[in-house]
Amino acid sequence: MTRPQTPLALAGLAALLALTACGGGSLGSDEPAGSAAADSSPVDIGLLVPTSGVYAPLGEDMANGFRLYLTQKAGKLGGRTVNLQTVDEGESPDTGVPGAQRLIQQEVDAVVGIVNSATALGVRDAFEEAQVPLIVANAGADAITGERRSDYVWRTSFSNGGVASALGPHAAETCTSAFLMASDYAAGKEAVAGFERSFTGAGGKVAGKVLSPFGTTTNYQPFLAQATSSGADCVYSFFAGAEAVAFTRQYRELGLKPTLLASGFQTEGGVLTAAGQAAVGIETSLHYSDQLDNPRNREFVTAYRAAYNEPPTVYAVQAYDAAQVLDKALAGAADGPAVVKGLQQVGTVDSPRGSFTFDEGHGPKQAYYLRTVEQKDGALVNAVRSELTGS
């Protein structure tokens, strides 16, 4: 009896072995990665952002923001030439976690990016054990700078609870009661919890809440019907991406009367363009708007528009600031622990969003702004009303 598949299988294995026979092996001593380079040698940075799938627009903005800073510094961070490696984070930890592991094992000096919170939480141990610093430039899970904080994980973006709770006191002043709506995943739940905490703390009354299935809901009518029947005069919502577009548009189409308050992601970037006129009048809280009137932001917006032909979003600023922060921390840093020490000494970051510092969880201690969507010069913008305080 012949078994012609046998030579085939062996050939396949021989090819596999040949492929793997480069590189030093995986049984070496337990030393963490990180080059013991001299002070001014080139530095490898991994940019882990989504370039495919539903989060790709955010990834694109983040890459743009990071690259803009690099261009402004002639391709150097900390005075050292940057070799930038971009890896597609994809839509889920399935691709994000292997992507991060690959960058770590290629011994990059730092990794920037990550949109998906599950991915960020999942790789935290890997970064800490390998002693490679990670600057999270979007993922908003509270735990990243909360219970799961690490010396090696820093964040220049936000926490879901923080953005939402900033809106609570303002809502308590202007609303009698509020109905809370969000998508049923961790970010939505954290946002609702954050808003509820500061809203009730400031005397507001919650009329009810509902969570819609995450990623599969296209029709919000049954959920919005509950908002109407609750009798609340305000609705607070948290949605992002395509869900935000559908929710906002259907909110207006179905003629909902309550004032709509939301976390700023619902009216940011491409989502705002797609939601169109339906978004006018929504009040949001966020740590950035391209309409912010400070000198640093004005020059940032001009530079960004010149480079990319569109106004910057919060995602671009977060990555831009990650580059800024690395610029300070990488100078003269020989390895991972040295970069971390540099990060701890960064102090005040002069960001287009206003200046911020890092708190003990290594997240940004920053101002949040009350924004309203308005028509300006034929386009929709998030006009900044005031700074939100008291949360």
Binding site: S52, F214, Q221, A225, G241
Partner: protein, 288 residues
């Protein structure tokens, strides 16, 4: 409550446009076409391209629908050609091929239209809302209900009352016999495939003002389509309608009655139906 039920009907007829093509292709060709979702997505992007964000007029909406029908028919004929060599190889091979085509198609669409959400407004004349039962309901969704029901009636008529429909039903039941009668089943099959694909693309144009175009819509629509088709019974037109209306209600009325279990409703309904009636509600006799 009434508005929720009406909304369920709107969602249901939209699902019907998706499910009808899928069910017929399966019934006639015994082909599991997993590229069906991408056809719908293509239809939404046709709406984006023709209507733009501004919405345009009813005439441009009709134009978009016609473009989608033609493009869909061509795509369907192409798919029929490509799947013919493997149509005897069983559903799993067809799944592999059509899913591969779906991945390629989805990627090409995202290269052409970007990854951002692209929304489409209904024509200005239909962009208002009317008061129904104390609430306010968009006129466009009422139009969707009307169009969908007309489509269902037309489909029923074609399948039940015309010669072509009789041939289609006969092919579902016994293809070799139909061939033995001298009918060119290859052309028939290509025609059914083209019609099914055209319907999916048409559904995309119709649904675009409700479900904006973005990556990921194809997977969601495909899974919903499969759920509807399986509940209704593979190869059955009336089954597709019943299944679609049922799922439409599950996702609207069901959600408003059981909001905490909203995520479980669609698949829970399907699992329940399949356990009680393993071949679907109105099975046509085609064994899977």
């Amino acid at each position: 409550m009434l508005i929720t039920v009406i909304d369920g009907v709107a969602l249901g007829v939209l699902l019907f446009t998706i499910a009808l093509g899928l069910s017929l292709v399966f019934g006639v060709m015994d082909v599991l076409n997993l590229a069906h979702g991408v056809l719908f997505l293509g239809g939404t992007y046709v709406a984006v391209a023709v209507l733009g964000d501004g919405g345009g007029s009813i005439a441009t909406l009709v134009l978009a629908a016609l473009v989608a029908l033609v493009a869909g028919a061509l795509a369907g004929a192409g798919l029929s050609l490509v799947t013919r060599p493997i149509s005897a190889r069983g559903h799993l091979d067809q799944a592999l091929l059509t899913l591969g085509i779906a991945f390629v198609g989805a990627d090409l669409l995202s290269q052409a239209f970007g990854n951002e959400v692209r929304s489409v407004s209904p024509p200005a004349a239909l962009a208002s809302s009317v008061g129904i039962a104390g609430g306010s309901y968009p006129v466009y969704r009422l139009l969707v209900i009307v169009v969908g029901l007309l489509l269902a009636v037309a489909a029923w008529y074609v399948v039940e009352r015309t010669r072509v429909g009789a041939l289609v039903q006969a092919t579902v039941a016994d293809a070799p016999m139909v061939r033995a009668l001298g009918v060119n089943t290859t052309r028939l099959v290509t025609g059914v495939f083209a019609a099914g694909a055209a319907l999916a693309a048409f559904g995309g144009v119709l649904g675009a003002p409700i479900i904006s175009a973005s990556p990921g819509v194809d997977t969601r629509v495909l899974i919903l389509g499969l759920v509807v088709v399986v509940i209704g019974g593979l190869g059955s037109v009336s089954g597709a309608l019943v299944g679609a209306l049922l799922i439409g209600q599950a996702e609207t009325l069901g959600v408003s009655l059981l909001p905490t279990y909203a995520s479980f409703l669609t698949f829970g309904t399907m699992a329940l139906v399949l356990l009680l009636r393993p071949a679907g509600l109105l099975a046509s006799g085609r064994t899977a």
